[in-house]
């Protein structure tokens, strides 16, 4: 684990949070999907870093810090390289892995996948 990987993960997660909000301003289909789901996704990296994305009443927000008690889905990465690989699409988040643990509402998680897929279209060139 390098300092560069730590920075990259934190910047990328925040960028995904920002992008998630910005896409809603220009993409009606994406905005409609946000309106149809209320959920929170917690990303934990190496027991060191927590990033949360919440959708409530069609609005998406994100923050670092502590996870809400009632997280809809929690995705835990063993380490920063794994988190980076997953968030950049180099490994499939849903593929079985000893380094990624996903708990929570699987149905909701499938409903939320559109967010990361949409964001990747915009961040894809950078990561």
């Amino acid at each position: 684990m390098s300092e560069e990987e730590i920075v990259s993960v934190k910047v990328l997660m925040n960028a995904i949070g920002y992008a998630s909000q910005q896409i809603a301003l220009v993409d009606e289909e994406y905005k409609n999907k946000l309106n149809s789901v209320n959920a929170s996704t917690v990303y934990k990296v190496a027991d060191d870093y927590i990033f949360v994305t919440e959708i409530n009443d069609g609005k998406i927000s994100s923050y670092e810090g502590s996870s809400p008690l009632d997280a809809t889905v929690t995705i835990e990465f063993n380490d920063y390289p794994t988190a980076l690989a997953a968030m950049t699409g180099r490994i499939d988040l849903n593929a079985p892995s000893e380094k990624i643990k996903i708990t929570g509402d699987e149905v909701k998680m499938a409903e939320l996948s559109f967010i990361l897929e949409s964001v990747k279209e915009y961040i894809g060139g950078m990561a």
Binding site: E5, I6, V7, V26
Partner: protein, 131 residues
């Protein structure tokens, strides 16, 4: 805003956010920020993207979708397509300026000092770009 514009907006966010995160972990950058004279850099990209970075009392802060009063330097990138290359590090600031694609208004010396701060970003975001 079209897809290209939104992509550039996000890249701009990444640039400004990166300095904040790197400074938490890199003592050299933290020192360089502490030594920057008080001042601000306003970014204007295309017709819709704006944001600023501020160095004040040895600290760094930034804000998207905003304009600051009396910026020390204003960086203007009119062409969104070119801006993508710029924020993706495909072209450096000096080349962009010489080609007339990056316009700089205000204190040139301050923009050059800021360039030293921005230099940290490339290496730290390399893992994000590595295929």
């Amino acid at each position: 805003m079209d897809k290209d514009g939104l992509q550039v907006k996000i890249m701009h966010y990444i640039m400004m956010k990166s300095i904040e995160e790197i400074a938490k972990i890199d003592e050299d950058l933290e020192e360089d920020i502490a030594e920057m004279k008080d001042g601000s850099i306003q970014w204007k990209i295309g017709s819709e993207i704006k944001g600023y970075q501020e160095f004040k009392d040895g600290k760094y802060s930034w804000k998207t979708d905003s304009e600051i009063e009396n910026p020390t330097v204003t960086m203007i990138l009119e062409d969104v397509a070119f801006s993508k290359k710029f924020f993706n590090s495909e072209v450096d600031a000096t080349s962009a300026y010489m080609a007339g694609q990056l316009k700089i208004e205000g204190q040139m010396k301050y923009s050059m000092a800021y360039g030293g701060i921005a230099d940290y970003i490339g290496d730290y975001l390399e893992p994000m770009r590595k295929k």
